[in-house]
């Protein structure tokens, strides 16, 4: 059975600085992975490489057995940590944009999610608050029937109500044929939705495993484990 994501010996350099060093990671389908680490640890670089926004220097990244390229962009739905929509776009324009470019985009689901997030389809992005834009971006990302959802800090800067809605949407969208990678700082709030967790520091994976197994082995929450692991830096 093919893995949704298979990363082998991935290295990424910016000039002389190594953002990612020999990263190995694999993800089966139907899993939710939490990618955690301090700022500058390489989380975002890793996610961007999977999404096709950046190139690796060496190593291999396969999504459903395919190398990163136009074909994998059809399978990967990426949620960036900032607004990437054209400011003059209304919510409905953004939906049309996605519908135009992605075959797996479900328009009905998009409108349902807009409703759920209490967003007005005729409102322009430029007049939306940061939280509303996050919700809109999330709605668009999850309206695709992608195989791999990649979310870069989806909970940063949102109020608790919005956060609950986002977590609900993530769980609702989950299905056994696709997987979700979420990078986050807010370990405590979301650790119960992760199947697996991965800690990354200075470009290297320092810990990887099933969340429940780690809880029983270490007798502590993933949050505490994170603090323990990264406290010494």
């Amino acid at each position: 059975m093919e893995k949704i994501l298979e990363i082998t010996n991935l290295t990424k350099k910016y000039f002389s600085k190594k953002a990612l060093k020999n990263v190995n990671l694999s993800l089966d389908k139907g899993r939710i992975l939490g990618l955690m680490g301090p700022n500058g640890s390489g989380k975002t670089s890793l996610l961007k490489i999977i999404a096709g926004l950046q190139h690796s220097n060496s190593g291999e990244v396969l999504v459903c057995g395919k190398k990163i390229g136009t074909e994998t962009k059809k399978l990967v739905s990426f949620l960036p940590d900032k607004n990437v929509l054209y400011p003059y776009m209304k919510a409905i324009d953004a939906i049309n944009f996605f519908q135009n470019y992605y075959d797996d985009f479900d328009v009905n689901k998009a409108f349902e999610l807009l409703d759920f997030m209490k967003l007005d389809k005729d409102e322009k992005v430029s007049s939306m608050s940061k939280g509303m834009i996050e919700k809109l971006n999330l709605s668009l990302t999850f309206s695709r029937n992608a195989k791999l959802f990649v979310l870069d800090e989806p909970l940063g800067g949102v109020d608790p109500v919005a956060r609950e809605k986002i977590i609900s949407t993530i769980i609702k969208t989950y299905n056994e044929d696709s997987s979700i990678i979420i990078s986050t700082h807010l370990v405590n709030d979301v650790e119960s939705i992760f199947d697996d967790v991965c800690f990354i520091d200075k470009g290297e994976i320092v810990l990887c495993g099933s969340a429940e197994q780690l809880r029983s082995e270490k007798n502590c929450s993933i949050d505490k484990l994170y603090i323990e692991t990264f406290q010494n830096n």
Binding site: Y14, K48, A51, G52, L53, Q54, H55, T70, E71, K73, K74, V76, F78, P80, K82, N83, V84, L85, Y86, D93, N96, F97, N100, Y101, Y102
Partner: protein
Amino acid sequence: MLSVLKQEFKIHKKNIFITSIIFAAIYLCTIISMHLSGLFESEKNQDISALWFGLSVGLGYIGAFFIALFKGSGSMNDILFKDTGYLIKTIPVSSWKLILGKMIIGLFEFIVYFALYLLFMTFIFHCGEEIALALSMDIQFNDFSKEIVVLCVGIIVLFILIQSILNFSFTVYTSFTKKVKYSKIILAIIIYFLFSFVVELTGAFLNIIDFNLIDDILSVWILMGIFIVISVILYIGTCLLYDKKVNL
């Protein structure tokens, strides 16, 4: 490819419409002011109409050129230097289709503005003799139609060339820089070098061909052919760099 054309047109149609209206308004004002100066031969009106005239004729095509070049769909400004670039780089469209689609819509935009300008100039030249009389100018208005066609095609080819040069420069710059806020100086240097290179290249080609044997019109066509070839090479370079080297 169709989806790129559709989407880019959607994104830019409002701008194209508004800019066209503004151009049309300026041209209309020029015509009106010149009519008025024809009717009332006072000193004051002639100066104003001369001003309008100078503005429209002199700047009309330059304005069209620069607006379409930098604000139009064909410019890779949006997808390289702004956050919307993330959105564009994650859509499953090859760089060939994306960049070509953008440049086609960009060219369409320029042609719209340029067509407006030509319409205006045609009107001016038609009334040319009357205007010349009114402005007390001594100009001969012969039949320029053949030369005008070549000139128009030439201007369009020039637009394509300059757009290609700019896009290639932008892409080269983004290939080796990580920052999103760009240094205009370095960018300007790249653009300058590229322009010089193109001029040198063109010069080299022109040296090979003996122009004494070819008439003027043919030589212009040859020059345009050279420009098209250079544009295509730059387009290929832009696509390759955008695919392989640009990191967002």
